[in-house]
């Protein structure tokens, strides 16, 4: 029942390409912080949105491609419409090219994270509607109750649509335009946007885990659903921790504070089960995919701890508007999301059977990525601590503060190169396998799942 249609693999292939190009512009942008004015062909106003949009495209395409791939097997029926998958991919690619073209030629107009001209939001929404339609037409044919990951995917899909539309709400002129409400609504939508892709990615992790271990019980357990509801609650009501300093109504901040703190439960639970996780990872050493899942779990612990700390307003006072926020964002999008998505791709291309020949290069890529990310993450936290402390406690001018943080920024930019190299090794490996599959030469299909 696994999809033989190569379109899902094409999604993954283009996703990996977007990741590599996006990471490349990320390295350029990081170095532009260290040496101002360097690499003038792509100035920072362009390199930053290129980086952000392309890596977000990676997360979405890799998650969506995976869902198209896993869904038929999960539900037990073929995809409602393979033609719509191809249409979705075509729309996504054309829009992506237009976005990149707009950035290169300096045509902006949107807001942070979606800085392209807002008219390009239209094809993005249309493509997503095709995906939504296809997903629900397929998933609702399932005769038995949904495992947690179907709930998660469904949630991610619906909330992306809502949050994306909400993040474009500013296009409608409001009679009493107010900058505070404007910022509040914008960040409300961003909270749900990241929450929605996390739902897609964590659902994917759960499926991959189920497939590797062959154990279908966890995704159907009460506690999986409990964790899902906790995640959903945070997606819906926790977003205002991003905007504690914005003078919006206090109830929003208090609500976000209380809701955010419920995540200690998740953290405590992971730590409580830590030994079992380690034992399981030793059992599955042959699976490359599993290795990524285990790494993502380590990153969950690190990032969740950081997120919980900076969601406490008294701590947030010092960390808001500093590189600690970036550390959290990078830790989550690279350490957790990217790692899980690589686990998924590794699984799809035939892990662990394919582990043989190029295992060394893959291992090197894995360790380069994760090792560099540790340094990267720590440097951002260091830079953030310097900036946050000096901004709140002194009246030093901006430039002086940034000069004090410079050594950390240099460490961050340097380790960024390590991340790019790691991604290059991994990207080359998986794209070769994906390409083989797209071209129909994928003989090492995992038959036991079909």
């Amino acid at each position: 029942m696994e999809s033989r249609d190569p379109t899902a693999h094409l999604f993954l292939l283009f996703a990996v390409a977007a990741l590599w190009i996006g990471a490349f512009f990320g390295v350029i942008g990081a170095w532009q912080h260290v040496v101002p004015g360097v690499i003038d062909v792509v100035p920072f106003v362009k390199s930053r949105p290129l980086h952000v949009s392309l890596v977000i495209a990676w997360i979405f395409m890799a998650a969506v491609g995976g869902i198209y791939h896993y869904l038929p097997e999960t539900v037990g029926v073929p995809l409602h419409s393979p033609a719509l998958v191809r249409a979705h991919l075509a729309i996504f690619l054309v829009t992506g090219l237009l976005v990149v073209g707009a950035y290169f030629t300096g045509r902006f107009g949107g807001r942070e994270y979606w800085e392209f001209p807002p008219v390009l939001a239209i094809p993005i929404v249309i493509g997503w509607l095709l995906f939504t339609w296809n997903f629900f037409r397929t998933a609702l044919r399932r005769r038995t109750p949904w495992p947690a990951y179907l709930w998660m995917w469904a949630t991610g899909i619906v909330f992306f649509l809502f949050a994306y539309l909400e993040s474009n709400l500013w296009l409608l002129q409001q009679p009493d335009d107010n900058v505070v409400r404007d910022l509040t609504v914008q960040w409300k939508s961003y909270g749900a946007l990241t929450g929605s892709w996390n739902m897609l990615v964590y659902g994917t992790a759960m499926v991959v885990m189920e497939r590797i271990t062959g154990d279908t019980a966890p995704a159907r357990s009460k506690s999986a659903f409990l964790l899902y509801s906790l995640g959903l609650t945070n997606l819906l009501f926790g977003w205002a921790h991003h905007i504690y300093p914005v003078p919006s109504a206090s109830w929003l901040r208090i609500l976000a504070y209380v809701v955010s703190m419920t995540e200690w439960i998740v953290l405590a639970r992971i730590i409580h089960q830590w030994r079992r996780s380690v034992e399981a990872s030793l059992f599955h050493t042959r699976s490359f995919s599993y290795r990524f899942l285990f790494a993502s779990e380590v990153w969950v612990v690190l990032n969740l701890t950081l997120a919980l700390l900076i969601s406490i307003p008294a701590v947030n006072l010092f960390t808001h508007g500093t590189h600690i926020t970036v550390a959290h964002a990078m830790g989550s999008t690279i350490g957790i999301n990217t790692t899980i998505l690589f686990a998924s791709i590794a699984y799809i291309i035939g892990d662990p059977v394919a582990l043989g020949a190029d295992a060394r290069a893959r291992s090197l890529g894995f360790w380069l990525l994760n090792g560099s990310l540790v340094v990267f993450w720590a440097c951002l936290i260091g830079a953030g601590l310097v900036k946050g402390w000096l901004t709140v406690m002194t009246d030093l001018p901006f430039e002086t503060i940034m000069n004090r943080a410079r050594p950390f920024i240099a460490g961050f930019a340097t380790s960024g190169i390590g991340i790019l190299l790691g991604l290059t090794l991994l990207g080359m490996q998986v794209s070769r396998h994906l390409l083989l599959r797209v071209l129909g030469a994928g003989g090492r299909e995992r038959e036991e799942w079909t």
Binding site: G37, V45, R48, P49, F108, G109, R111, E112, E115, T144, P145, A148, T155, D176, N178, V179, V180, R181, L183, T184, W187, Y202, M206, V208, M209, A217, S221, K222, S223, L227, S229, G231, L236, F237, I243, P245, V246, P247, S248, A249, S250, R253, Y257, E263, V266, Q273, R276, S277, E279, A280, E297, V300, L304, T322, H323, S332, V392, M393, F398, E399
Partner: protein, 169 residues
């Protein structure tokens, strides 16, 4: 954030996993649908409240004139947010701009000079004079809405902030 991906989960088998009749599992599903429905409903309420009453700042102070609205548009067209923040939100290459038009030793003229000419660190983005005036009007609307950064004294013992009505500097 939410994680349920991990081996930790494998060990969790409980009542509704296997061994139970279809009917019980569907009843669990109904409960689940109800929980999700309640959460979504609360979210709708929150959304309406956020859109309508989320501001602590009266409109006169956070409101945008026609000129300031144009300024907001330029702010997006020139992608100032790549380098600058309001209330700490945005890119970190340049300083936070929340209060620049009203800060001690700065002000509208100072602001306009940066926008028109750039510096060694801030590029000259080719903003023309009338666009710069619009941008200053937008930045000034932002400055009127509040103060950033907040100083430590504004905390309650629970770790939340006290009311943040700006003192107007």
């Amino acid at each position: 954030m939410f994680t349920a991906s991990t081996p930790a989960l494998q060990s969790l088998r409980n009542s509704d996993s296997g061994g139970h009749s279809e009917r019980i599992r569907w009843r669990a599903t109904r409960h689940r649908r109800a929980i999700v429905a309640v959460l979504v409903l609360l979210f709708v309420v929150q959304t309406v409240l956020t859109w309508t009453t989320s501001t602590a700042v009266p409109t006169e102070r956070g409101g945008l004139s026609q000129q300031a609205r144009r300024g907001r548009q330029w702010y997006q067209e020139f992608n100032c947010t790549a380098c600058h923040q309001f209330y700490g939100l945005g890119g970190y290459m340049g300083p936070d701009l929340t209060n620049v038009t009203r800060a001690k030793g700065k002000g509208p003229e100072y602001t306009k000079a940066f926008i028109l000419h750039g510096t060694a660190r801030m590029p000259n983005l080719g903003v023309d004079k009338s666009q710069a005036d619009d941008l200053v009007a937008y930045l000034d609307a932002m400055a009127a809405s509040g103060t950033y950064p907040i100083r430590a004294a504004n905390l309650t013992p629970y770790g939340t902030y006290k009311e943040m009505i700006p003192d107007g500097e």
